[in-house]
């Protein structure tokens, strides 16, 4: 089959690899119909998260049709022919954490748990196509994927709804929603969201669903800010103002937003000397993460407010304003999304027509163009917001 493989920093390539096989009784094999490039894949593309290996298959946002199931998968849970969206987190469903619905903290799905434990103390769940530290599972930017614990994660999708509307249930829609849930929004709240990529876009809409009065979205690309405005947000282009924190103060009568969301993560950009210093430190591996947005979130948040972090961080970040965090009595909520809590309710919202997630798609391409699309997406060329790949289309059809 065709698969997008990580061949080194800035090197993606579409390779012919063997088809996946059932390896465990609770596995299923999915023939993939749609698969996406996620903003978090760019951290791997840029070589910033350790424990990738040349030849690793990328991708964690995919859907398709079940073509084979393992011996322990009950037909009432999942059977051949089912159309499914596969969540990016892998969960066994039976450990303490799964039973607490902390699915992304599953104890039994990461075979390389001990690498993550070295770095983080304890290991989160396995993830598709996202480093060996997170399990080393082959990802879904391919024609087929093996899905472990297939009786827990995959969400069955009725026929008749196009892929474009539901494929983002695999990650970014629930992740944006989870980011908004983590803001602890009360009716009338003001929420500031840094990052107007796909997760930020879904977070904006989710914040309104959860009762926010105002959402203020922050980015530097006008086409993304326009999309945020279409979602009902007020916007700040941080390159056009002197100081984002002061601007937020001015917009909120010197109170500050009730919640601040970092939907950017470890590769944040900025336009101040601190940003330059972080770039240097990251380049020399003195810190893994550039927490420019996280710092601003903590500074800008109102006293007693909540900082929500759906943006991906991988290791260590410097100069976090802990004094502000402590003295203002802030709360921080974060985590890889506990996918299974949100997929079904959000599917219902899509079915009822409350939201059509396909609005974020800017590019539909055949899988062969994945290497080029990684570059386009990373460099924000061609108004790129979200790339959906068709694993079966040929390059000439594009």
């Amino acid at each position: 089959m065709k698969a997008v493989c990580w061949m080194g920093t800035n090197k993606m390539s579409v390779e012919n690899v063997p088809d996946p096989k059932i390896l465990n009784p609770r596995d299923a094999i999915v023939r993939i119909t749609s698969t996406c490039i996620c903003g978090s894949d760019l951290h791997l593309y840029n070589g910033l998260i350790p424990t990738m290996e040349q030849g690793d298959i990328m991708g964690h946002e995919f859907m398709g049709e079940v073509v084979e199931t393992g011996s322990a998968v009950q037909p009432e849970k999942l059977k051949v022919g089912d159309r499914v969206v596969v969540p990016f987190t892998i969960a066994c469903g039976r450990c303490f954490f799964c039973q607490q619905k902390l699915w992304s903290c599953c104890e039994n799905s990461n075979p390389n748990y001990w690498i993550a434990e070295k770095m983080m103390g304890y290991s989160p769940s396995g993830l598709f196509g996202y480093t060996h530290m997170m399990g080393g599972y082959a990802g879904g930017q391919a024609q087929y994927a093996r899905v472990p614990f297939a009786d827990v994660g995959p969400l069955k999708i009725p026929q008749g709804i196009p892929d474009d509307k539901v494929v983002f249930l695999s990650d970014i829609f629930p992740t944006g929603y989870f980011g908004a849930v983590n803001c602890d929004i009360k009716r009338g709240d003001t929420v500031a969201i840094w990052g107007c990529g796909p997760v930020g876009q879904f977070a904006i809409r989710s914040a309104f669903m959860l009762g926010a009065e105002r959402v203020i979205a922050i980015d530097r690309f006008s086409y993304r800010l326009e999309m945020a405005e279409q979602g009902g947000a007020e916007t700040i282009n941080y390159e056009e103002v002197d100081d984002v924190v002061q601007t937020l103060k001015d917009m909120t009568a010197n109170v500050g937003p009730d919640s601040c969301m970092d939907a950017v993560g470890m590769e944040a950009h900025g336009d101040n000397p601190m940003y330059a210093l972080d770039r240097v430190k990251q380049a020399f591996k003195l810190e893994t993460d550039r927490p420019i947005v996280l710092r601003q979130c903590i500074q800008a948040c109102r006293k007693g407010g909540t900082v929500s972090v759906p943006g991906v961080y991988s290791g260590f970040a410097d100069t976090i304003p802990m004094g502000a965090f402590m003295n203002k009595g802030l709360t921080m909520k974060t985590g890889q999304t506990h996918m299974m809590n949100f997929m079904q309710p959000l599917l219902q919202r899509i079915e009822k027509g409350e939201i059509d997630p396909s609005f974020v798609i800017s590019h539909r391409m055949p899988i062969d163009s994945a290497p080029q699309m990684y570059k386009t997406f990373r460099d924000k060329q061609d108004r790129c917001t979200k790339v959906v790949l068709d694993p079966w289309a040929t390059a000439t059809a594009a």
Binding site: M1, A3, C5, W6, M7, S13, E15, V17, P18, D19, P20, K21, L23, N24, P25, R26, P50, T51, M52, E53, Q54, G55, D56, I57, A72, I90, C92, G93, R94, C95, F96, Q99, E107, N108, S109, N110, P111, N112, Y113, W114, I115, K118, M119, G126, H132, G135, G136, Y137, A138, R146, P148, F149, K285, T288, G315
Partner: protein
């Protein structure tokens, strides 16, 4: 990590820095606990010897009196009864103790253990259950005349607030001489606690999830030459990139 190449690295394996740093108090405490738990004269002797051995034995260079001691614990989302019964079925231990080839019943409470040594060196010992209480604990030791002198215990305790069962296991081996000694060192010598923890995590996975998560046998694109060479040299070694996290990845990976 190059002990594939020759036997001469045995001393470096045994004198592994991390092990040396953590061994004294673990060994002393564990041996004392194990000795006391046996409630016998030999047990008391073992307990008393624990401290002395912990201090002296590990300061010395390798010798035939060295011991490998492993200790680990894990929280299982099941009752002590279920955990005990699954564990007590010794013939099934190789399902999650990947370094074991087989466990065979050879007597009333006696079992023959065969471990997979490196380059075809089998490690075999006969052991008997010296004491056990249903759903609570099992302790065992090797039979006199066995090729290997070993002992261990496993405890099953109810965790608070219905959180399942806390399993605690201790195993120690005398370090035999010669080729067998090398084989034992290869299996358990680097990071005995890590080998133990891997076993217990797999037991947990089997009990809770019904299977052990794996990526062995999944497809991938072309690996680098360096990666292939390293994999050939040591199939269990993770393949590090030249990132600062390579420090983390230097951590030895022995699942045997």
């Amino acid at each position: 990590m190059n002990e594939n190449n020759s036997n001469t690295n045995l001393s470096s394996v045994v004198s592994n820095r991390a092990w040396r740093q953590s061994a004294p108090w673990i060994a002393g405490a564990a041996m004392a606990a194990f000795g006391l738990s046996r409630r016998s004269k030999s047990g008391l002797a073992l307990a008393a010897a624990g401290g002395a051995l912990a201090y002296a034995g590990w300061r010395a260079n390798t010798s035939e009196s060295d011991q490998f001691l492993a200790r680990g614990s894990v929280l299982l989302n099941c009752s002590p009864q279920e955990a005990y019964q699954r564990y007590r079925n010794f013939e099934d231990l190789p399902k999650f103790m990947f370094h074991l080839e087989s466990v065979t019943k050879i007597g009333e409470r006696q079992y023959r253990w065969v471990a997979l040594g490196p380059v075809g060196i089998p490690i075999q010992w006969d052991a008997e259950i010296v004491d056990e209480r249903e759903n609570e604990f099992i302790s065992w030791r090797s039979l006199p005349g066995s090729e290997l002198t070993a002992a261990g215990s496993v405890r099953f305790e109810k965790a608070p607030s219905g959180r399942g069962t806390i399993l605690t296991a201790i195993t120690h081996f005398d370090h035999p001489a010669g080729k067998l000694g090398y084989a034992v060192a290869k299996l358990f010598g680097k990071v005995p606690n890590f080998v133990m923890q891997q076993d217990l995590r797999r037991f947990k996975a089997l009990i809770e999830a019904g299977e052990i998560a794996t990526t062995e046998g999944q497809p991938h694109g072309p690996r680098s030459l360096k990666a292939a060479a390293l994999k050939l040299a040591d199939p269990d070694r993770p393949l590090a990139r030249s990132a600062p996290m390579s420090e983390i990845l230097k951590q030895q990976r022995r699942t045997a």
